[in-house]
Every structure is written in structure tokens, then in C-alpha cells.
Symmetry: C2
Subunit: 405 residues, 2 copies
């Protein structure tokens, strides 16, 4: 028997370049089913649900939906609310009042947990209801999934950024540090490795949260590279930690207030500054610079993997199909088959909710300061079509006349 009622779709957590593809996948697919009376979009994630702040996406044009799909960031806006049980009860009450029978929440492992709790409440009160978590995270840290929508496009941004930083650094040598997002998982920082095309290409060193960061080892590594190439490019995760698991940035940044400027290192460029100063002072290298890739990584308009776009669309479509055709709850997961294709499955929510996947050991080199070829083999097909590549001049040196010995 067909379950008649409304669909609610919402977006949670940090935006990605393709999160709207999943939204549009849900909306277009849901609108095909006669038992779906309306498709609502909750404004600002779960907080829009408890405030009954819904857009009626049944009345959105297909053209505009397609335009929104290629726009980064969350078109329904987002929230950092992490609902507890009481909050989820409010959500459930609104759903009952509006006869919402299908709930799709696009987000990371926290969002999966919200879906899990709401779904349990529906089950325990005997309300017929399907709830699906749709994966999204630039960090690529969801369990079960081979990778998660949002990661490939941000990885591409990081790769393109480091291709450029490497070229810039070759033209005007020195040490350059690029700080990449990722508090626990190093997948994004590791993507910088795609810039390693020619033998002397950076990043020469890559530091991930999965391995302890020891300042003395870091300085020794930088000195070795600098002595060899006269320059050094470093990719570093914002989340690097010492051997006790204390983030380097909280360990070394002093909070400092000042009557005039009120300078207070609050996170943004702090890690890059710390490492820069260490190199300048301990290694006596003059030209040391850092860039913190910041919010550009996840929101930049016009740097996207088409593979990521298609997969993000498909997980949205599959979510609607699993719920509405098959009456199943769960989390949509992506599974790699061959090199390269994917299958979509639906996985029990508790296997994804609230858990974090880290870089596997085989993706990290023995010294813990770079990635392996296995990682590049993993990442390459995710980056999509027309990935730009840098080229160098290969012309021979011309003979000297005045300075001949």
C-alpha cells in the first residue's frame, strides 16, 4: 500500500559545492510520485522544521532547480543545531501535524544521528514514516562510504590550489605552507598531492591529523627539502595534533588582547603563522609564506568535479527511490566497483551516525609526512573531467659566453 503524505528535505552542517545537487535529486524524483502530496524544503535545516519554516518546492520551476543544483552552498540554508531527544520530538510533532511521511536530511554524521533519533520516535509511536540520511561532507569522513559527495569537488579545489602554489613557489622560491580543512581526517589535505607531477613538484611534505605532528621532525623535514630543491611546499591539515592528541594550533597560539588593535589569534591564519615563524627562526630561511585555504575550499563558485556533481544528484534520487518505492529507512552509501564506477546502497543509520572515518594506513607513507600512490589511485577518478595540469619548459640550456670557465 502506498504511503501518502508530504516530503520534507533539509540540509545540515557546512555547505559543499554539490549539496544542492542532492537537494534537487530528492525534489525532482519525489515530485514524480502521486502519493507525494507536497515537497517541502526546511529553511535552515532542522531549526526550520521546528519553526515550520518551509518552502513549497512543489511550486519551484525545473529550470531554477537546475540552476540551483550547480550553485554551491546550501540553497535551503543550514544550521549548526545538533538536536537532542527533546528537539527531535518537536521535529516529529511538526511532521505529524503536516502529515509528513518522508524525511530526507542531507548532511554529515551528526545529521545521520538526527535522522536516526527522529525515525526511532516515529517507530515507537507507530507513525508510518520513512527517514533517510543523504551523505554530504567535504571531509570525506563518513563510515561505510568509499567517499562522500562534496569531498571530490573540494579535493579538486585543494589540488588546483597546490598546483598553483607549487608553480608560484618555483618562480619565486622559498618555503610555502598551505593550511587545509580537516580536523580529524586528512583526506582533503592529502588531495594536495595531485600537484606532484614533475619530480621536484610540491607539496614535498604533507602532514595529516592521523599522524602525530612533532615540531622537530617537521623542521628537519623542511630543512632536508629546502637544502635539496632550494624551496619547499608544505600541505598541512588544520587539525594536526601532537603525540597526546592536543591540536598544535591550541597548543601554540597565545590569546593576546591589545588596547588598540585587539589582535587575537582565533584560528583562521594562526596555524600557518606559527609554522612560518618556527621555520624563519629555527632554520633561518628568509622567504617563508603561508596561505590558509579557508572557506574558499567549500564554497568557491566554479571549481567542481563532474563526477561529484553526478553522484551527489544520484544519492538524492536514490534516497527518494528507496523511501518511496521501497519503504526503507537508512543512510545512502556509495560503494566503488571497478575503476571507476559506483553503486548506491542503503545502510542502517547507526552504522554511519556519529562516527568518523579516518585515512587508512595504506594511504600514508611510513614517515608520516606524505601520501602513497595508493591514495592518488583512490583520488584520481573522483576529480572528474578536464582536471587541469601544469606544464614546464623543457628547452635545453644555451651555452654561456662571458662566464665560461
Amino acid at each position: 500500500m502506498k504511503l501518502e503524505g508530504k516530503v520534507v528535505v533539509a540540509q545540515g552542517g557546512g555547505p559543499t559545492a554539490v549539496i544542492n545537487q542532492s537537494l534537487v535529486g530528492v525534489v525532482l524524483e519525489s515530485r514524480k510520485f502521486p502519493q507525494v502530496t507536497k515537497v517541502y524544503g526546511a529553511v535552515n535545516g532542522v531549526s526550520g522544521i521546528i519553526n515550520e519554516d518551509f518552502l513549497d518546492l512543489t511550486q519551484e520551476t525545473t529550470h531554477n532547480l537546475e540552476q540551483v543544483a550547480i550553485t554551491p552552498s546550501s540553497a535551503l540554508f543550514s544550521t549548526r543545531d545538533k538536536p537532542d531527544k527533546a528537539y527531535c520530538e518537536e521535529i516529529f510533532n511538526v511532521f505529524k501535524a503536516h502529515n509528513v511521511r518522508y524525511f530526507f536530511y542531507i548532511g554529515g554524521n551528526d545529521s545521520a544521528d538526527t535522522v536516526r533519533i527522529v525515525n526511532e520516535q516515529a517507530e515507537s509511536s507507530g507513525y508510518e514514516f520513512r527517514a533517510i540520511h543523504i551523505p554530504k561532507t567535504i571531509d570525506n569522513d563518513l563510515m561505510i562510504n568509499d567517499h562522500t559527495p562534496g569531498y571530490p569537488s573540494t579535493a579538486r579545489f585543494v589540488a588546483q590550489a597546490f598546483i598553483g602554489l607549487n608553480l608560484d613557489n618555483r618562480a619565486l622560491p622559498g618555503v610555502h605552507i598551505g593550511v587545509v580543512m580537516g580536523r580529524h581526517a586528512g583526506f582533503l589535505t592529502a588531495a594536495a598531492s595531485i600537484a606532484q607531477k614533475y619530480p621536484d613538484d610540491g607539496p614535498h611534505l604533507i602532514y595529516l591529523p592521523e599522524r602525530p605532528f612533532i615540531m622537530d621532525h617537521f623542521l628537519k623535514d623542511v630543512k632536508e627539502v629546502y637544502d635539496r630543491y632550494g624551496r619547499c611546499i608544505v600541505a598541512v591539515s588544520e587539525g594536526i595534533q601532537d603525540e597526546d592528541g592536543v591540536p598544535i594550533v591550541t597548543k601554540l597560539v597565545k590569546t593576546k588582547k591589545d588596547a588598540h588593535g585587539n589582535v587575537q589569534l582565533s584560528g583562521t591564519g594562526a596555524l600557518g603563522e606559527i609554522l612560518t615563524q618556527q621555520i624563519k627562526q629555527k632554520l633561518n630561511i628568509q622567504r617563508v609564506r603561508s596561505d590558509t585555504l579557508g572557506y574558499l575550499q567549500r564554497s568557491f563558485m566554479g571549481c567542481v568535479s563532474d563526477v561529484d556533481q553526478h553522484e551527489a544528484r544520484e544519492v538524492g534520487e536514490k534516497a527518494a527511490q528507496f523511501a518511496i518505492w521501497h519503504n526503507i529507512d537508512g543512510s545512502i552509501t556509495i560503494h566503488r566497483t571497478g575503476y571507476y564506477s559506483v553503486d548506491y546502497q542503503i545502510t542502517e543509520l547507526h552504522k554511519v551516525a556519529g562516527k568518523t572515518k579516518l585515512m587508512p594506513d595504506e594511504f600514508i607513507n611510513a614517515k608520516g609526512n606524505n601520501v602513497t600512490d595508493a591514495f592518488k589511485y583512490y583520488l584520481q577518478p573522483l576529480l572528474g573531467s578536464h582536471m587541469p595540469e601544469a606544464s614546464m619548459l623543457r628547452a635545453p640550456r644555451a651555452p654561456k659566453i662571458l662566464r665560461v670557465k
Copy 2:
């Protein structure tokens, strides 16, 4: 009579996304002339000349040159050397020893000045010699030129970055500050204005070096926007100055050394941090973030204006043609004709050398905190084909049930 001898081409100053287009334009065009015996590329700009460090680009393949052309940063590497008279004499001596008769230097106003001095030495010693400056700068600050190669692509990067920051900020509201390159001229920062598509789109405020930056006015501006939209996006030039011409960043950042972390604000993220702290403390707004676009602006791989690519190629070609067909020295300049096409002319070196063009008054609004439509009309055609655009959902709000008053 045809002047027989070698060509030397070199690249100076900061890299751009299209500086290699100009290099390849010079090389491919020069190689067509029988009186050109060799085409040399000086490695590391003028310092490569005095060290006789040349690549023989006559022996480079056409395919690889075309690959290099679409690669950002300086393929011949760069230098920050600003030659004085003695240095230029050394350059001139090397040119005489190698029978170099044509010199092309791709760079900004400092590079134009180097070309000017070398050329004067050749003239005063009766050495038959052509020297041409080829314009390049992301800052767009060369006199005579409507705009300069390198600027359109970086402007496009800045625009795409702010489109994303605006979307991100709409999804997760607060105040967001983006710091853009430009010590004296505000053209790059002004490019952020392209993100203003929908009526509430940011950047809501744009601060340029051409207008004094007064902290109290800035805070008042931010408060007004934040009260109106619940969020605020600010684009600010790294070079903003107070009423006495003192850069805000040097005025407000305290150099601070510390035994452990050695944190010392040296420039990179400092201005963003200062403004962030001011807003947090004076306006009591919680979520305030900043991004410093940094080196990504000028070197990012894969964000380029095709108009910029073509023009950068053409100024290189025209330089070779003016020198080798027409025996003229000077600086190649770009002149806009209609909307939108350009002509290339050759201008006397002293009109470009060592001078800086600023944003004209008609491009800046009366309050000095945004740009005018005249600026957008100026910039739009430079951004090139397939400029991405953001789209919003326009679906109607759905009726409430539980919260009906």
C-alpha cells in the same frame, strides 16, 4: 635593413595566470623571422641575464609551448631584483656578447623601467637594439592601458571566491571579511562586486586603498548591514590606509614574539584578524570570520578568463611584431574600443615605467564603501566566457499549522 641577432625574453615580478601566454606569444612569433638567430628565455628574469642563464627556446616544441601557455605562474621563473644603472650595464654587456638584438621583458611598471634604462644604454653606445616592455600585473595599475593582462583572470578568481563566500554566509549567517591583494590600487578588491546578483547579495561593503579607511565608519557600516540582513560580507584591500596614508595593517598589528609558539603577525592573515576582532568586541557579533585570499589569487590553476588569455597572447605577439617588423621600442598598451574590443599600441616607455594607476573616482561610490555600476560595466567583459552565476530558490513559503497566530 634587417637587424640580425638573438631574441631574449624574460618574466619579472609576481606571477599571473596568463603571463606564459605572453611568453609563448613572443616565442612563436619571433621564431617566424629569419633574422632571428635564436630565441632565448632568461631564467629568473633579469638575474638570469647577468648570469647568462638562458634556455634556448628555439629548441622547444610547439605543443609544449602551448601547454606552458595555459599554465599559470612564470615558466621562466621570476625575480624581485630591481636593476639600477650598474645592473643594467651588466645586462647590456651580456646582450652585446651574445649578439642579442631584441629584448622583451614581461612585467609591471618596475620591469618597464628596467627596459627603459637598458634601452638608453644601447642608444648612447650606438648598439642597434630593440627593447619592449610587455604589460603584466594582477593589480591592473599600469598607466595608459585600459587594463593589463593578468588582472582579468585574478579578478575572475576574486569574483568567484566572493560568490561562494556570499552563499556560504547566507547559509550560515554572520560577518565574513575577505582580504584581497592590492597595496595601492583597488581594482582587484572591486572585482568582488560581481557577486552582487540578488538584492541582498554581498559583498555589502568594499574598502579600497583609494579612500581613507576609518575604523569607526567601518564599524558603523557593518552594523547597518548586519541589522538589515542579519549578515554582512566585506571585501577589503590589503593596502587600506588611514587618513595619513598609514596602512591599517602596520598601524594595528603588534609584533609579538613568544618563547614557545613564536607567534608573530607578519602580514598574511593579520588584517582580517584585526577587523574580525574589532567587530566582535565593538559590535558584539558572535560569528565573525575572515579569509585572506593570498597567493591563490594569482596562481590558482584552472580559473582563468579566456579574454585575458587571448589578450596576453596578443601583447606578446604584438611586441615581437613592433620590434622585428617595425624596429620600434616601447611598452605595449591595451586600448578598449567599443563594448567590447581592444586595439594594441606601442607607447613610450617613460609613460608607463615606475608609475601607478589608481581606480578612477567614477568607479567608487560617494561613501567610499562600495563600487559603482560604471565599474561593473568596465569589468564584466574582461571576465571572459562561461562566468559562473549563483541561483537561489524562489519557491513560496508553505503555510504553518502549529504556529498559526
